[in-house]
Amino acid sequence: MQPLNRRQMAWRAAQDIGSGLLVNLGMGMPVHVADYLRSEADVFIQAENGVIGAGALAPPDRADADLVDASSRRITLRPGASIIDSVWSFALIRGGHIDITILGAFEVAHNGDLANWDMRVGDKGPLVGGAMDLAACARSVWVIMEHTTRKGSPRLVEACTLPLTAKGRVSRVYTDLAVVDVTPSGFVVLDLIDGLTEAELAKRTGAPLAFAPDLRVLTAPALPDAE
């Protein structure tokens, strides 16, 4: 069994994004999704700071401190891009105009609850940013995260233990071991990595799993891991 690395997880999520959609990508693993969109998928990437149509990262000689995405990365604009202010940007999000948001997470519960904004680390201050707005209001909320913590505890759980970002909003999770839909009856596995049995996946998961009748093998091309 070879679990997917972080770029491969982003690649796998990218394969499910159709053409003509408006997509928001969260910090960390999700931003890599933009690198692996299918060639036929003409997609606009929205960033919370008002950029509609974020392009690739800017090369150093073209980097502009005024042209950044929500992760403070210096970017370019794609053809047809526009820039709006923060009020309008969040009206776009809250108004349900984002087709898909892909977020990182610490935990997802089998009822779709999401915990992704506060790990409760020491005395560090809170940082919520646009996570709650996106999770509450995007039409589809997808998550990319490792299937378990580094210590091996499940991240797909019966009930989130960390502070919630939104209740009942996640519809799909891409992990290093599986692709899992969150349905009204709980987790349904769509893709499973080669060499791992259904029982072994269930042991790494903190809530009951169902398996799709047409369960597929989770594969991705060889890609270097992201930092």
């Binding site: 502009d64 820039i83 923060s86 940082l127 919520v128 509450a136 939104a166």
Partner: protein
């Protein structure tokens, strides 16, 4: 006398800021931080400020200087976590109980300011329902979904960064500089803009992003 909103320096633009003021500071991710005005506000030194700023800890903003200098009593923001493991000036003072923190989802933060500038005292939003950030807030159901009541924010001073101004205070912005500036300029009784350059000819209505009607004072700070 024809309108001319230019003032000679950031210090002059902020000369009448009083203790206890609620101060909006624009900027996001390195774009549009009014760092010249923030530095001048620190030098002026009003006490017991409430800052309304998206991030209390962003490494490219000079907001931390106001906090470190002890001028700030309260911060309303969506991000208050410093880089790395060490505590930022904000986190140290917050943990010591010296600064009050109100953390809001970023869209709620923006809408509270918009509402403040648009004469709307409060509004309901679905964002944050069932989370810690909605604790103690009124919840009401509309169309089968719970919503949280959030209150408008208004203040005494807004500091924004723009690209160009004309003598009327009309502003243009570069790329993502604009972020919170439009809303903040509507919600404050005194609006000061720092700009790269002032154009002596009026800016065409087609290019104006923030009308001079909202802007009181212009300071040229260059790049």
């Amino acid at each position: 006398m024809p309108i001319d909103k230019r003032v000679k320096s950031a210090a002059e633009a902020l000369a009448d800021v009083a203790d206890g003021a609620t101060v909006f500071i624009s900027g996001f991710g390195g774009a549009g931080f009014p760092n010249g005005l923030i530095r001048a506000l620190r030098e002026r030194g009003p006490k017991n400020l409430t800052l309304v700023v998206n991030s209390a800890t962003h490494r490219f903003s000079l907001t931390h200087e106001l906090i470190e200098t002890g001028l700030v009593r309260k911060v309303i923001c969506s991000a208050a976590r410093g880089q790395g493991k060490d505590l930022s000036p904000f986190e140290r003072l917050w943990k010591a109980g010296k600064i009050e923190l109100v953390c809001l989802p970023q869209g709620t933060f923006a809408e509270c300011i918009r509402a403040g500038g648009a004469g709307i005292p409060a509004f309901y939003t679905p964002v944050g329902v069932g989370t810690e950030l909605a604790r103690g807030k009124e919840v009401r159901r509309f169309k089968d979904r719970d919503h949280v009541l959030e209150h408008a924010i208004t203040g005494e001073l807004a500091l924004v960064r723009a690209d160009t101004a004309d003598l009327y205070g009309n502003l243009t912005f570069r790329y993502a500089q604009v972020n919170f500036a439009l809303a903040m300029a509507t919600a404050a009784s005194l609006v000061v803009a720092e700009v790269r350059a002032v154009e002596t000819e009026p800016i065409s209505y087609q290019r104006v992003q923030l009308p001079g009607a909202y802007v009181d004072r212009i300071v040229t700070v260059g790049r």
